[in-house]
């Protein structure tokens, strides 16, 4: 712990309140009705269409969904890394500690990225610049945002390398990315992400490109860092196993919308939305005697040709007439368990809300 205390001492003052309000009730991040559309030659793609969620300090959020449901676009929208053109965040609010990130200038965002919010990407093999050493790339993050000398930054880089579990950091710091394996490169990415001790780390499918044993190591690392540094983590994944191991709260997305949102244990115990039920049902179980894996019928809809009404209707086993006429709203069916489905609209506690 002494080492971590040393790292914290060197950090800015912003670190101290995270330590104190580790499980405070304040929301660190609030996304309200975020809409990110892509204007392509073939039409407008509503990749993120009215997504809302929030993360408290000390929490870990998981965003789950199939490919194309909008989870990565949500993360990139929070970091304001969407390519414009063809993408555009057309409406909504992204409140970080109460400040709306969508109203910030590019210069202000450059100060925020890597410093207050960091992001780790899916492909460790290509996410590092091949012509600079690993140490240089970590030091760059530190030198960009903190007012320290190079020697100090180098010292901190060595500490970060140690913290993410890279052996012999004194020699590894001068290595180039091509001299490292995928798992080690991902650790370096995490080191870069956490170098300035951000309040929040977004991890976009951090383990998808790694093999299973390394996956487990990286997840353990992230859990440990979450505990030691108090960083809020937002994990984007399609792997429910990762969700079960790491996150406190889950948001399930489908075709650009949130369809269910609740605490992890509750989601696995009582999935409500037919999509979630299907997802959990499709996980192969070792003790089951099945010839065919259970699947959800149909495919993810083409976002350029969305069905009228509920977007999940074509694949739903519980569809009703109203599903084809009007899209359901997100309602709080149980305390802190939100679902977007007409099956539960009547059972709602009288509260309907487009966002939390």
């Amino acid at each position: 712990m002494r080492e971590e205390a040393k790292v914290l001492d060197l950090a800015d003052q912003k670190m101290s309140d995270t330590e104190q309000t580790k499980f405070g009730d304040e929301n660190l991040l609030e996304v309200k009705d975020l809409k990110t559309y892509f204007y392509t030659e073939d039409g407008v793609v509503p990749a993120v269409d009215g997504v809302s969620f929030s993360i408290k300090k000390g929490e870990t959020l998981g965003i789950v969904g199939e490919s194309g449901c909008g989870k990565s676009v949500t993360a990139l929208s929070i970091m304001r890394l969407i390519q414009t053109p063809p993408g555009k965040i057309i409406s909504g609010q992204i409140l970080l500690n109460g400040e709306d990130l969508l109203k910030k200038t590019e210069k202000e965002m450059n100060d925020i990225r890597g410093n207050w919010i960091s992001m780790v990407f899916q492909e460790p093999m290509t996410s590092l610049n091949p012509v600079y050493t690993v140490g240089d790339q970590i030091m760059e993050a530190i030198l960009l945002h903190q007012n320290v000398k190079k020697i100090e930054a180098r010292k901190r880089t060595l500490e970060m390398l140690k913290m993410v579990g890279i052996p012999s950091p004194e020699s590894r710091i001068n290595d180039y990315p091509h001299q490292m394996s995928g798992g080690m490169r991902q650790r370096v990415m995490i080191a870069i992400g956490l170098a300035c001790q951000p309040k929040m780390l977004i991890a976009d499918e951090p383990t998808t490109a790694l093999d299973v044993t390394i996956q487990a190591q990286i997840l353990d690392l992230m859990k440990r860092l979450k505990d030691e540094l108090g960083t809020v983590i937002m994990v984007i994944t399609h792997d429910l196993g990762v969700v079960a191991q790491m996150v406190d709260k889950v948001v399930v997305m489908y075709a650009g919308k949130v369809v269910e949102s609740t605490k992890t244990a509750e989601l696995f115990a009582n999935p409500l939305h037919p999509y979630t039920v299907g997802l959990l049902g499709s996980i192969p179980k070792v003790n089951e005697d099945r010839k065919r894996l259970q699947t959800i019928e149909g495919v993810v809809p083409n976002l350029l040709e969305l069905p009228v009404g509920c977007r999940f209707r074509p694949r739903c086993s519980k569809k009703m007439e109203i599903c084809g006429q009007e899209g359901p709203h997100l309602v709080e069916v149980k305390p802190d368990h939100w679902v977007r489905c007409w099956c539960f609209a009547e059972r709602a506690r009288g509260e309907t809300d487009e966002g939390k």
Binding site: K107, R113, H145
Partner: protein, 309 residues
């Protein structure tokens, strides 16, 4: 990395030797006998015995491989023989003309690099907007204009009509400007296109996304992260283009009536002046191989992945 440099150096030396063999063989296989050419030029009447004596004095009656070995032995001591025509040492002839050609080649390379890189970067940063289209239009124009035509047009406009530059001079900076331009524009256009496409490709790379996520500003992104990666193919191209520039200098020197190796090359081959032709071609080849060796070493400095080959 030292191993890499040594390997490259040895490869370069081997290449020089191979070139010398090829040049030697090719020249001697050309139809036309230098002795006959000289004699008919001088108008003298010689007996067969006298011709044979001249031939053996010049060493032209020995078998080809022996002639080659004699040549190489002397060349390694700096003696490239004497010109059949002027009887001056080949080495001297070359030394007299080389500075002009080198000047031209370096100046045009400079123009090519500066103009090419600048327009390429501007085009990439303004992708699909006016500046991009304008730059690429210029590049296509530049690549389509033949060296000699451009040279003649430049002389017509800037020397004869406007009088800004001197004509038929070989010395001094003003005399260098137009020839360097006419020679360099084509390479500049090629570099411009390569820079643009290289940069655009790099802009889409994952590590640029990582850098943006770190909060790196646009300027730092381009200069620090993107350029160094995009440079690698560009530098290779520059090295190869140097050969084009050397070749093009022959034409440019003729059009602008400049002194240089250009006229040496043409006249020596035409006259079957073996020693001179061999000497000139060998020197040019060494220059070209040398430049590419420097390029090889240079980009092992830029790209760490290449150092361990």
């Amino acid at each position: 990395m030292l191993v890499y440099i040594i390997k490259r150096f040895l490869a370069a030396i081997l290449t020089v030797f191979v070139v010398s063999i090829v040049v030697f063989t090719m020249l001697h296989l050309l139809p036309g006998d230098p002795i006959d050419a000289i004699i008919s030029q001088s108008g003298a009447q010689l007996t067969a015995a006298q011709i044979q004596e001249i031939r053996s004095n010049m060493g032209l009656d020995k078998p080809l491989p022996i002639q080659y070995i004699n040549y190489i032995k002397k060349a390694l001591h700096g003696d490239l023989g004497r010109s059949f025509w002027s009887n001056r040492p080949v080495f001297q002839e070359i030394i007299d003309q080389i500075p002009f050609t080198l000047e031209l080649a370096v100046a045009s390379l400079l123009i090519a690099t500066v103009c090419g890189l600048t327009t390429g970067i501007i085009a990439a940063l303004n992708h699909n907007r006016f500046l991009d289209n304008a730059a690429m239009f210029l590049a296509i124009m530049g690549v389509s204009m033949p060296n000699f035509w451009l040279g003649l047009i430049l002389i017509l406009v800037f020397c004869l009509n406007l009088g800004w530059f001197p004509i038929a001079q070989s010395v001094g900076l003003p005399a260098l400007v137009l020839p360097a331009f006419s020679l360099g524009i084509r390479t500049a256009s090629i570099i411009s296109r390569m820079t643009r496409s290289g940069l655009l490709e790099v802009f889409g790379a994952d590590y640029i996304r990582t850098a943006r996520a770190k909060g790196v500003r646009t300027f730092g992104l381009v200069v620090k992260h993107a350029l160094r990666n995009a440079f690698i193919p560009i530098i290779t191209m520059l090295g190869l283009q140097f050969g084009e520039l050397l070749a093009g200098s022959v034409v440019t020197e003729t059009v602008f009536a400049r002194r240089g190796m250009g006229q040496l090359v043409v006249s020596s081959i035409k006259d079957r002046d073996f020693p001179l032709a061999q000497g000139v071609i060998l020197v040019v080849a060494i220059m070209y191989i040398g430049v590419n060796l420097i390029v090889d070493i240079f980009y092992s400095c830029i790209d760490p992945r290449i150092r361990y080959d």
